[in-house]
């Protein structure tokens, strides 16, 4: 990982930024074109080709029903990305305004909201999501929303602490002296100053959401079969790991590429947009 001493400023983009952008680009293209790229439908059975090892016909082999693992992994990318993006949009969309308002208004309302978020963060994260998913029928969207809600608290805390810093800045005093409204201050002064940090936070949340969604569907409380979700495929392939390891290994490799790509992009963006934050790794 970069140390931040050598790669300051606006020079050549760093290797991690290029690599991350390339991987994320390929990933997005895959998500968009999954149905075109996949050689077979994700739920098509090939009864005579059950447990086929990887070959030219089935690039990543077939599973216990003879379904093409490669096609399932490709189409699974749509599920993972949907989950990650919906969770990220929910936690950023609610967390950032909460943090902005609490940090700028202060007083009793701030105190109340922050204590409520403290309480939310005092619970072990996975328990809250499991509780939500057990009570209501599980599904992709439900899982994404549960994870998104869970992540509101840390995002709001970050946005609040950034706001508190900016409240003391010179341009805030100037805007106040000009008699600007609060919304102008928040939207036109604070957000433009905060967005590099928020963008990096969003990339982190995206990664955490994808990983947590995988854990939940692995435990059978998230996306339900026969969907080709990566966590679900790993969970299903677990029973055949002795003789057909490709069933479980392929979706994990796809997940690793996704996570590494998004993390590299986030790291690269941080170094480029906010050189003073780098090297804290």
């Amino acid at each position: 990982m970069p140390d931040g001493f050598s790669r300051r400023g606006r020079g050549r983009p760093s290797a991690s930024l290029i690599a991350g952008a390339a991987i994320v680009g390929v990933l997005l293209a895959t998500v968009a074109l999954a149905h075109v790229l996949a050689p077979y439908p994700f739920d098509q059975f090939h009864i005579h080709d059950r447990f086929s090892p990887p070959s030219l016909k089935y690039l990543a082999g077939t599973d216990e029903y003879g379904r093409d693992v490669f096609s399932r992994v490709l189409i699974g990318s749509q599920l993972s990305m949907t989950l990650g993006l919906v969770s990220t949009i929910i936690c950023m969309g609610l967390g950032v305004p909460i943090g902005l308002l609490c940090g700028s208004v202060r007083g009793l309302a701030d105190e109340l909201v922050m204590r409520l978020l403290d309480l939310l963060m005092a619970f072990p994260p996975i328990l809250l999501v499991l509780l939500i998913l057990v009570v209501t029928p599980p599904g992709l969207l439900k899982t994404s929303v549960a994870i998104g809600i869970l992540f509101i608290a840390p995002v709001a805390r970050l946005a609040r602490s950034l706001t508190l810093d900016l409240m003391n800045a010179g341009f805030t005093e100037a805007a106040r002296a000009r008699g600007e409204y609060l919304w102008y201050l928040l939207l036109c002064e604070f957000l433009p100053n905060m967005w590099p940090t928020l963008l990096v936070e969003a990339s982190l949340r995206l990664v955490f959401a994808v990983l947590m969604g995988a854990v939940l569907s692995f435990l059978s409380f998230g996306v339900q079969p026969p969907a080709s979700d990566w966590g679900l495929m790993i969970s299903g392939g677990r029973a055949f790991v002795d003789n057909a390891p490709w069933i479980a290994l392929a979706p994990g490799i796809a997940m690793a590429i996704t996570v590494i790509g998004i993390s590299l992009l986030g790291d690269g963006l941080r170094d480029r947009l906010h050189p003073q934050f780098s090297g804290k790794g």
Binding site: M1, A122, I234, V259, G281
Partner: protein, 319 residues
């Protein structure tokens, strides 16, 4: 100051547990199935259903049900498992013991490996050992714990036939069996936390290594290994201890997944078992116990940090 702080934190934990008990209670009552129907099975008549509900007190108003359940909890009575027809307490105690062994072993491994790798990364900063350590540590973060667990099973159980892939050894089978069953779950759990600890040790080592007292030690002609191990490392460990204490709380999520993949009979697996079969008393007890452990670990993390570094004022974070 410290005593008041401690009292406030303990009060906070009590509030958290009370809130969690309400949440769990309401959540389980929002479920379509109830305990009586679970005990009786699908062929119950409405009359037996009503009789069983009366015996379990399910026909009482919600508030009095909650109060009698919470009162039982306070007296240490965790109720009766609906599926296993046994008191929850001994089941939970056995599971907790297994999980404690797993988590403690993983903590020791993370501590030793994380400090070693972090120091290596800092000393050889920017050269190949640093990059190798970073790649190794970050690969623990790229996929969920259970995936590495699966790969370890594939390599050590399916291919090499070296270690058992599931369950826990019992004392009757001897210590070797217990240890053999622990190796893979502990490795898996520890691996997912290695990145965090080793990165923190590395960056705080880098901070320490440029301080004047390190230059002074080198100036006195001390050998480099002595400068690093005796002078730099102890000063670099304070943030690491904080991170380790925090990770102990975060390990709970990992414990659930790791125990599931290795079929290790700990509290995480008990929780998943209870959730799948809607064994409400077991589920409620597991969730409350796990929440209590999580809160206690976080409090311990803050206290340890304050004890190590007197400059950190307790309660300042809450201002």
């Amino acid at each position: 100051m410290t005593r008041a702080y401690l009292a406030r934190r303990l009060l906070g934990i009590a509030v958290t547990l009370a809130a969690m008990s309400c949440l769990v209670f309401l959540a389980t009552h929002a479920l379509p199935a109830n305990t009586a129907a679970l005990i009786l099975g699908p062929y119950a008549t409405p009359a037996t259903q009503a009789a069983m509900e009366h015996r379990l007190g399910l026909d009482q108003p919600l508030l009095s049900q909650y109060l009698s359940w919470a009162g039982g909890l306070l007296r240490g009575d965790l109720g009766q498992s609906a599926v296993m027809q046994r008191p929850v307490k001994p089941i939970l105690a056995a599971a907790l013991e297994n999980s404690a062994v797993l988590a403690a072993a993983a903590m020791v491994l993370v501590t030793v490996a994380g400090i070693t790798l972090g120091t290596v990364g800092a000393v050889w900063r920017g050269r190949w050992p640093d990059h190798a350590v970073a790649i190794f540590a970050y690969s623990g973060l790229a996929v969920p714990e259970f995936y590495w667990g699966l790969i370890l099973i594939l390599v050590f159980c399916s291919r090499l036939h070296l270690l058992p892939s599931s369950g826990a050894g019992s004392a009757a089978q001897g210590l070797v069996s217990v240890a053999a069953h622990l190796v893979l779950p502990v490795l898996t759990l520890a691996f997912s936390f290695l990145a965090h600890v080793s990165r923190i040790v590395r960056s705080s080592m880098l901070d320490v290594l440029v301080r004047p007292f390190i230059m002074a030690a080198r100036g006195r002609g001390l050998p480099e290994y002595r400068v690093i191990l005796r002078h730099a490392l102890p000063n670099a460990l304070i943030p690491a201890v904080t991170v380790l204490a925090q990770d102990f709380g975060n390990m709970i999520g990992g414990v659930v997944a790791v125990e599931t993949i290795f079929a290790y009979p700990g509290i995480g697996r008990l929780l998943v078992y209870a959730l799948e079969r809607l064994d409400l008393p077991v589920m409620q007890a597991c969730i409350l116990v796990i929440t209590a452990i999580f809160c206690a670990a976080n409090l311990a993390a803050d206290l340890i940090t304050a004890a190590l570094d007197p400059r950190i004022r307790l309660g300042a974070a809450h201002a």
